[in-house]
């Protein structure tokens, strides 16, 4: 059996071992390497540690290529603390496909193809049904959460975005504003960090910025001769018109997000990700891919963009690179379109992705060849994923089920 020289290192000071090369069998599995590290730590610290090492990252390529490694070189293997696998918690049944999900620490908001949005408690209890759209709800977002009064947004195929106010004490929801202006289905909304504005992206290739502050006065309607529409707005809240419109995309906008209070990022079917100045509406830079983008996510921790497109790869981008289309990394393990990606809010290396192949994958960017975990609970296409601050992973899809997983990330590692 061939042996390779390996040196183990870690950034976690707690689990340091001596910096000497070891000779390990080339056919070692992850568990074997974990055993080696555990033995070393045991010998060093004199205490019985649990098997905490799940994946050992090699510096450049995955552990799975250890056998092909040059026998004369010393392989540098990074090891990290093992995370416990995500624990499935709830399975929340819907009436129809789940198009979008957004959760905070208390409530889960889902948009569905049955033209409604729903609010669920963390235990999977249906709290509220937000009905009012005349067509499929494509995206939902929380604007403001407070103890009793919350604001939420729903974007729909009927070309409108609705701003709702939800009184959780009386459990009553009220449509405050109906945002009209898009000429196509509104596929995505994103609320800015200051919680006063939000941006929407639509099939009509436009990005529009709206005010997220509810007012009692109706905005001026651009076209006054619309009596029929007016009647409708009386029922469904005051009509609101966009503050700003960004045009520049050549195809439908599929995903939009705020990088910070001044910077917007949008992904489109025209194979580009564009960065915009939210104040001036100026286009700052363009990242060009080769496929249609379905979803993007930005992590302020590692300042990277992750994108899911109509192929099997999750791609990581550096939005600050000026030279355009630089893909930092491709994470390849899915077998279908990647429909949703979401960075971990607390860990700079981890993200979750959902795909048409019915599997949600949890990735660590240090291991690009294989995901950390496959969450194969869904029976049909996954359309949305979310990751909350308190370590809850949510995924919804075409099997009408919303799954939640508890995933305890190592907080100490996140700050490094």
């Amino acid at each position: 059996m061939s042996q390779v020289q390996a040196r183990f290192f870690t950034e976690n000071k707690k689990y340091l071992i001596d910096d000497v090369p070891f000779s390990i069998p080339a056919a070692s599995e992850v568990a074997d390497l974990s055993g080696v590290i555990n033995k070393l730590l045991e010998a060093k610290n004199g205490q019985d540690l649990q098997d905490f090492l799940k994946v050992i990252f090699q510096k450049l390529c995955g552990i799975y290529y250890l056998e092909t490694w040059d026998k004369t070189e010393v392989v540098e293997i990074e090891y990290v603390e093992k995370f416990t696998a995500p624990q499935p918690e709830e399975c929340i049944m819907h009436d129809d496909w789940i198009s979008s999900v957004e959760a905070d620490s208390e409530w889960i908001l889902t948009g569905s193809y049955d033209k409604t949005a729903r609010i669920w408690s963390m235990e999977g209890k249906a709290v509220m049904t937000v009905a009012g759209h005349t067509d499929v709800v494509k995206d939902v977002a929380w604007v403001k959460r407070s103890f009793s009064h919350s604001l939420l947004l729903t974007a729909s195929l009927d070309q409108t975005i609705m701003l709702w106010e939800w009184n959780s004490e009386r459990n009553k929801v009220e449509a405050r504003h109906c945002c009209r202006g898009h000429a196509g289905s509104v596929d995505t909304v994103a609320v800015d960090p200051t919680r006063t504005k939000f941006c929407s992206g639509s099939w009509d290739k436009m990005l529009k910025i709206w005010s997220a502050v509810p007012t009692v006065e109706e905005d001026e309607i651009e076209e006054p001769n619309r009596p029929r529409k007016k009647q409708k707005t009386e029922q469904m809240g005051l009509t609101r018109t966009p503050l700003m419109t960004f045009s520049g995309h050549n195809e439908a906008v599929s995903s939009v997000l705020w990088m910070d209070a001044e910077e917007l990022c949008s992904a489109s079917w025209d194979h580009t990700i564009r960065l915009w100045d939210a104040e001036t509406g100026e286009q700052k830079s363009t990242l060009t891919g080769s496929k249609v983008f379905n979803s993007i996510s930005y992590s302020p921790l590692c300042r990277r963009l992750a994108s899911g497109s109509t192929d099997r790869h999750v791609r990581l981008w550096d939005p600050r690179s000026k030279d355009g289309s630089l893909v930092l990394l491709s994470l390849t393990s899915h077998n279908g379109w990647v429909t949703a990606v979401r960075w971990s809010p607390s860990h700079e290396h981890q993200l979750v992705s959902g795909s048409l192949d019915n599997v949600v994958k949890l990735w660590d960017t240090r291991s690009c060849k294989a995901p950390l975990y496959d969450l194969a609970a869904h029976e049909d296409k996954i359309l949305c994923v979310d990751w909350t601050e308190n370590g809850l992973i949510l995924s919804g899809g075409a099997d009408n089920k919303l799954y939640t997983y508890r995933y305890s990330t190592c907080v100490s590692d996140a700050g490094a």
């Binding site: 496909w97 080769s290 075409a398």
Partner: protein, 680 residues
């Protein structure tokens, strides 16, 4: 002579005439020679003397008046009363002849001597030939001599024999030159002598009796490489002796008794060994090899009788035979994998169409429904039931109109699906409802009706009742005209073009040749393509004339697609072929692709990308790169890039329709398994 009447033959009459003209009886006779000798005159005299009693009307006086004009043409005297002059210089007058044809005939009938009567041209008198004269004529006719007594076979006297007579033939004295030596001879001899002296003339060499040989290869350069060196075929090598040939072979090579018997009974030709291995105690005991001469002889026979031929093997690298095509990897993007499956139909999906924005997909199926799908998620957003198995669906290509044409049975329904921009949908409804009935109602073959009630709620807007089953519907690029195909052989109403805004129907063709399979509008120019079983006809709609007729070279065209540039057409056929026509190049296919195993059902071009696809009964969709260059000199580049499989074959039907996404390099295919699939 005999007294019998003899009818004169033509030759005889000719002879008589000749004699009358004073010519000789024998045609071949040389009269001038005879005249010189004066022989006939004597002969004439002799005749008269011998047979004077027989001459009746030639009296002695008539002999005297012989004409003296000589041998001249007698027609010179044609106009004169006389015919010449006698010896005394008196005119000889022509006898009075007034015989006409009747007299001549009577004379011929009555006169027994008419046949022997001739006219003397010199005197103009009729002469009755005597028996001797007639006899003479007969003799001359037979080629005999005129004189009866002439002996033509008299013995010849040999005057100039080999015998030297004492008397010379001539009495001439000998010449002087016969006595003196000849100077010319002397000169000739002198020349010969001089030539011999000078050695110019040599004595004749004695003939050599020994045979002559020459060295065939004497002039050959021993270092040059000759053809036979190049073509050297080495002699076959002899088999090297093995253990069995040894004088002391190992015991396993020695034959046992049964083996030896078997060997002996075997035919020598079939023996494995031509000899029996033998064991000798020592080399000294080995006898002389008895088969030596025989073996050498056989070797010689092998060397010169064995047929040797150099087989010229053509060394062609098989890779060179493959045409140079770019690798599919370099031709990306094109669809490679199946991404989405649109499930919901319970029967085969005959036709699909994508909205101009690329957000929606419509599919028509045999389960009598039309379904509208969201492209990106494969979500069925709407299902519209119609009254029959849907044969064709077509989304209006105009982005400002939201209409879908659906054909089932003999009906075409224009549906407003209510998807996409609300303003566009309401504008479309207004456009249809704002139609005003024209004052004069035209008699149309197609009934237009506005949908009401439940149908209107489902989205039905206009219902067009056709006289026959509608197989295909297709829109013009502007979205106002709609062409429908009703295949019916021999009927004049196979293709109709509807104008939706005016609710008018026209039949563009007075008669259709053959069974129309599909039609298509040119994307830019006012041309109309009609595909019948074997031909595609291109009509100019403005000039109303046939512009081109494309020969597809296949048995039965199934489908057709026009390149968005408008200069190229692809045709799929039921005999597994796809023909690419370059309209600028020829009316014959520029290229024929036979990649499918079974009949092609549908072909499609991409609107922007250089791609085209074909769907077939074998359940596969083949995507090809079809680059059309603006440069007229460069032919289109056609490279098959991908075979997409996914549909299961149901009832021997695979893929029924293919269509491309309007903006992305994605292809949709609908199949007999009731699914629509998206390949990206």
């Amino acid at each position: 002579m005999t007294g019998a009447d003899i009818r004169l033959s033509d030759e005889q009459v000719d002879l008589v005439h000749r004699l009358q003209q004073g010519k000789f009886g024998d045609v071949n006779f040389n009269e001038y020679e005879v005249f010189r000798s004066g022989f006939p005159l004597c002969w004439c005299w002799n005749r008269h003397r011998s047979d004077s009693n027989r001459i009746c009307h030639l009296n002695i006086c008539s002999l005297d008046i012989r004409n003296t004009v000589g041998n001249i043409p007698m027609e010179w005297y044609k106009d004169y009363p006389h015919i010449g002059y006698d010896l005394e210089g008196k005119k000889i007058f022509k006898p009075i002849r007034n015989k006409d044809e009747l007299d001549e005939f009577l004379d011929k009938m009555e006169n027994p001597d008419y046949w022997r009567t001739v006219q003397d041209k010199m005197t103009g008198a009729d002469i009755r030939l005597s028996d001797e004269q007639v006899d003479l004529v007969h003799r001359l006719q037979q080629g005999k001599f005129g004189d009866v007594n002439f002996n033509e076979y008299e013995p010849a006297i040999d005057f100039f024999s080999n015998e030297v007579m004492i008397h010379p033939v001539t009495n001439r004295p000998q010449d002087k030159r016969s006595f003196i030596p000849s100077l010319i001879e002397k000169e000739k001899v002198g020349k010969l002598v001089h030539a011999i002296k000078m050695g110019w003339i040599k004595p004749r060499r004695p003939k050599e009796t020994t045979p002559q040989y020459y060295d065939l290869w004497a002039k050959e350069d021993p270092n040059s490489i000759l053809g036979r060196h190049k073509m050297h075929v080495p002699a076959p090598k002899m088999k090297l002796p093995g253990h069995e040939e040894s004088y002391n072979p190992p015991p396993e090579y020695l034959l046992s008794e049964e083996e030896r018997l078997a060997w002996e009974q075997q035919d020598p030709e079939y023996r494995k060994l031509s000899f029996l291995p033998q064991k000798f105690a020592c080399l000294r005991a080995v006898p002389a090899y008895s088969r030596f001469i025989h073996e050498r002889f056989e070797r010689c026979l092998d060397l010169y009788l064995c047929p040797r031929q150099r087989k010229m093997r053509v060394n062609v690298n098989p890779e060179d035979l493959i045409p140079k095509l770019p690798k599919p990897k370099d031709l990306q993007p094109f669809p490679t994998t199946q991404s989405l499956v649109y499930r919901g139909h319970s029967s085969l999906v005959r036709s699909i169409s994508v909205s101009p924005s690329g957000q929606w997909l419509v599919s028509g199926s045999d389960d009598c429904t039309v379904r509208f799908w969201e492209v990106s998620t494969a979500r069925c957003l709407k299902t519209v039931e119609v009254g029959g198995a849907v044969k064709g669906v077509a989304w209006n290509p105009n982005p400002s109109i939201c209409l879908v044409a659906v054909s089932y049975d003999d009906t075409v329904v224009l549906l407003n699906p209510g998807l996409g921009d609300r303003l566009v949908c309401t504008a479309t409804d207004q456009l249809i409802s704002s139609y005003e009935e024209p004052e004069e109602v035209m008699d149309q073959s197609v009934q237009w009706a506005v949908a009401e009630g439940e149908g209107h709620e489902q989205g039905h807007r206009l219902i067009l009742k056709h006289p026959k089953t509608v197989r295909q519907v297709t829109w013009h690029g502007k979205g106002d005209y709609l062409a429908c195909v009703m295949p019916d052989n021999g009927s004049s109403l196979q293709v109709v073009i509807h104008q939706v805004s005016k609710r008018r129907t026209q039949n563009p063709f007075r008669k259709n040749k053959g069974l129309v399979q599909c039609v298509s509008f040119h994307p830019i120019r006012p041309y109309f393509f009609v595909a019948t079983q074997r031909y595609v006809r291109v009509y100019n709609l403005i000039k109303q004339e046939l512009t081109k007729k494309l020969m597809a070279n296949c048995k039965w065209i199934s489908s057709m697609a026009i390149h968005p540039g408008g200069d190229n057409v692809i045709c799929g056929s039921y005999d597994c072929r796809l023909a690419w026509f370059d309209l600028d190049l020829s009316t014959k296919p520029y290229k024929v692709l036979r990649h499918h195993k079974k009949a092609l059902r549908s072909v499609a071009y991409h609107r922007h990308y250089p791609l085209f696809a074909s769907g077939s009964d074998d359940g596969s969709v083949i995507v090809c790169h079809g680059m059309v260059y603006n440069d007229l000199l460069q032919n289109p580049l056609i490279v098959p890039v991908k075979v997409l499989k996914g549909h299961t074959i149901t009832h021997d039907l695979g893929v029924l329709d293919v269509t491309f996404h309007p903006t992305q390099p994605w292809v949709f295919s609908s199949g007999a398994d009731g699914t629509v699939r998206l390949f990206t």
